[in-house]
Symmetry: C2
DNA sequence: TTATAATGATATGTTTATCTATCATTTGAG
DNA sequence: CTCAAATGATAGATAAACATATCATTATAA
């Protein structure tokens, strides 16, 4: 395996960069180096290009999500507890992943796009299964359901960041929003 | 009033710029000028700075939304038809407004932020009224409800742009998503 | 301790976009 | 038609960020 020392430092740079970019997506390499407590020369030695840094950042974030999802213990056939636990493990990652939504480079790197699709796959299959069993509305495309869930995660992270939402309230709020919407008595028209 | 001739041209530049920036948020002034069919010198004569152009763009978009909302005929007390009509009039504006979500300058200009809040106000009051009458879930903050509705509009616009969603299906899909969520039988936990 | 590798400060080069300035050409009002 | 205003092409100035290179200093392993 690689030199553990360098890997550790590399990871430290990634973490610090992520933290800064979450607040300021346009941060300069100089600012990133400062915030990471290293010289800009060293930053270049670890990531020769801004693009490479951002790619590494994205892959790191995807790895964190994958790891978190791997720790979900609820069984997939129990929709409510499963979904709840998914949101519970993902919400704490907010600050380390949310910058992905504003990183344009992400959409341009096929590898990252593929990885993003790959870690979404389990949730996609789960949603389709729940639809097949009548637990979820079958009148809506699974793709729409996944997309909305994904985006609401980002919205929740933003609101937590802005101080409008308590981190501990977020998972339940998301589950309720996703499963019931805002209506009280089923006024919706699902034709 | 101002010279109508110049105003017309100004508006034409704004429309063309919006169209381009919707697809490529990082477009250069040169690219914007080309796409608008004018020289870059003339572009500078109308908008001396990129920032001023983006601000004018944002205000123009906000104006379009306000105008569209002003044309809503359904009464506010009829939630379902009102909400449906709101989405119906806003969805066609997608391409002219969606770039707002990726324009960082928007969040930094107090005037624009204020205008954005102002045109949201009617919807905010409507939501609070529906909550008070038990038509909407009172267990969720009105701010969350508004924020989610707003973001789902952007999501819908993106999906239409990507070709994953038919423009004509969007309003109904949004209403259903917002009012019922994805659940079929009220599995949600609203404690 | 010594030698090698890593680091940080700094200088320099390169690119890219914004902005300003100029001038010949075109347009449009009177 | 005539003339003033508007336009477009172009050149150059400025600025900001990225990237490379150098070198003295520090840290680390042998």
């Amino acid at each position: 395996m690689k030199t553990s020392v360098k890997d550790t430092k590399r990871k430290a740079i990634l973490d610090a960069s992520t933290e800064l970019l979450a607040m300021k997506p346009t941060a300069t390499l100089q600012e990133i180096a400062d915030h990471s407590g290293i010289g800009i020369a060293t930053l270049h030695r670890y990531f020769s290009t801004r693009e490479l840094l951002l790619d590494a950042l994205a892959l790191n974030a995807i790895g964190l999500v994958e790891e978190a999802l791997g720790g979900v213990t609820a069984e997939e056939h129990d929709m409510l507890p499963f979904l709840t636990e998914v949101f519970e493990v993902l919400i704490p990652l907010g600050g380390k992943v949310s910058f992905l939504s504003s990183a344009a480079s992400v959409d341009e790197n096929p590898h990252i796009v593929a990885e993003e699709a790959r870690i979404k796959q389990p949730l996609r299959e789960a949603v389709e299964g729940w639809q097949a069993r009548g637990l979820l509305n079958t009148g809506m495309p699974a793709h729409w359901i996944i997309t909305v869930m994904y985006n609401l995660l980002f919205v929740a992270w933003q609101e937590i960041q802005k101080g409008n939402l308590a981190k501990n309230d977020a998972p339940k709020l998301l589950v309720n929003t996703v499963l019931q919407g805002f209506g009280r008595t089923g006024q919706g028209d699902s034709r």
